[in-house]
């Protein structure tokens, strides 16, 4: 008998898009499409069990083996560096990690740079590669306020369309890295459910190929 695959999806738009890819690949789960208060959705026929998790927690569920497979943004993988297999770049949820700040103003290079961000590790690594001394201000949301209130010189954050930045008189200064959704898998699960996960990789890849 084929083994069930547990899949962690990130709550929100990205997760919905990812579920669409999976359902096109033959991993439909009618339950998930109904709106109800259930937390875990199962389809024995296709051998999958989905659940929604906070996007930044998906990698934790996978690393700890509660989910065999997960969908997660590259930003989360770069920030937390979980020990998992990164199997497919789904090419959805595309955006970039960028440095942004007040429009037409570049922070001076003669002092320590104050950086507000949700991604302290990405910011640290980026500025270390430039040899720049920085002061990290870790925030959990509404990062854009920090430079407006002069708490930070710049922010390091995800930029999708740039509208929020523009409306607040901010602009992206430089790009750090391109981001998109990735399919990850637990390293131990991959060994014990290898046939199932490898079949899934093939099906998802061909579903993605059909789209483009």
């Amino acid at each position: 008998m084929a083994k069930m695959i547990n899949i962690a999806l990130p709550k929100g738009r990205l997760g919905e898009k990812a579920y669409k890819v999976f359902s096109e690949a033959g991993y439909k789960c009618p339950e998930i499409e109904e709106s109800n208060r259930k937390l875990i959705f199962e389809n024995e026929e296709t051998g999958v069990r989905y659940f929604w998790a906070k996007p930044s927690d998906v990698a934790i569920y996978v690393e700890r083996g509660a989910a065999d497979v997960g969908i997660v943004g590259k930003d989360i993988l770069l920030e937390y560096a979980p020990d998992v297999y990164e199997l497919i770049d789904l090419g959805i949820g595309k955006c970039r990690m960028a440095v942004a700040g007040i429009k037409n103003k570049r922070p001076s290079t003669d002092s320590v740079l104050r950086v507000a961000t949700k991604f302290p590790n990405i910011a640290k690594e980026y500025y270390a590669s430039l040899g720049r001394d920085i002061d990290i201000i870790k925030l959990n949301g509404s990062i854009e306020i920090a430079p407006l209130l002069k708490m930070s010189d710049v922010i390091v954050d995800i930029v999708e369309t740039g509208t929020t930045l523009k409306e607040n008189n901010l602009e992206p200064y430089e790009s750090i890295v391109e981001i998109s959704a990735r399919m990850i898998a637990n390293k131990a699960s991959f060994k014990f459910k290898q046939t199932e996960i490898e079949t899934m990789i093939e099906k998802v890849k061909s579903a993605l190929a059909q789209r483009s």
Binding site: E63, R64, G65, A66, D83, V84, Y85, E86, L87, I88, D89, N186, K187, A188, S189, F190, K191, F192, Q194
Partner: protein, 368 residues
Amino acid sequence: MSYREVLYGEEAVILKLRSLYETFGYKKYSMSKFEEYDLYLENKSFLPSSNILAFHSPSGKLLALKPDITLSIVKNAKGKAGAAERVYYAENVYRASKDDHEIKEIMQVGLEYIGEVDTYISGEVISLAVKSLRSISENYIVSVSHMGFVTGLIDEYGVSFSLREKLLRLISNKNTHGIKALCEEHKIDSRLYESLEVACGICGDFESNLNKVERIAVNSATKAALDELRGIFSVVKALGAEENVVLDLSVLNTIDYYNGVIFQGFIEGIPCNILSGGRYDKLVEKLGKSGGAIGFAVYIDLIERYCKSDREYDVDVLVVYSGSDVQELALKVAELTANGESVSVVKNDDGSLKYRKKVVVQEVGVNG
């Protein structure tokens, strides 16, 4: 089943492993919990984390709680040419956990062979790794790889030192799209990407996969690695340990410890590898000894953490007593324990213990 018949996971496993290792002539190696801090300072690149618990001894020496056993074993090995040493250990090590950076005590059982390592020795050690896991659970997998294969490929295409580590990390995550992007960005020969894509995809039956990678073995280093793996597998087979041994060329270790064959063990239900090992000649050389070494460690604490036995009862019989006739009480306890039942004697049943049967011993007589 009486709860006493349930195996106490950790302790039972340690006993089984000890007798297994002794069958193959490995000697128990006990050591102190401390080691001189300088040893770790000098060999930092061989440690998975630089977070070491150090303190001053009363005589002013700087000591450390051991973060690793292998270093101490190699340091104390005689390292005489032609005299091999086979040892095993069951010790606690102290390491910072990745999640909260707090120091954790981790129970490790491991085995080391120090001396000239040949194909038979590698096969013997891997067989013991396989049999170690088999004694814990029948649902195990041992993935075997060879550092020389992947590094041989990387060296063939002249990859700079700074990219090397990035590439190794991508390979160990089977991140083929990442390898492709990195090769394109740094204008590395696309044949490297093509070969690594094949290597990352290898995970499964040992012999048929060895034949599959034959065609990407472009130079003498990669060919030698495959030949060595083939030889080792024939030993593992002869020793009756080939079941569930797979070839997985993405198994790597970025810490500067291993140089040849490398392997990891998994048990179903535990989300990370419970066994890790390989060849580490470089460390032996660094510590000024001759010969090579190969060994592995089993992270015993994972068994307790993930394979919890959901015991129905804490004890078989809860004996609740009141009054002062302790002799009668003791006789009752003696009778129960003689019948092989476990007993907990308490004054009040406060509900904190789960039991199968309750016996109340009162001043007048016994009410079952």
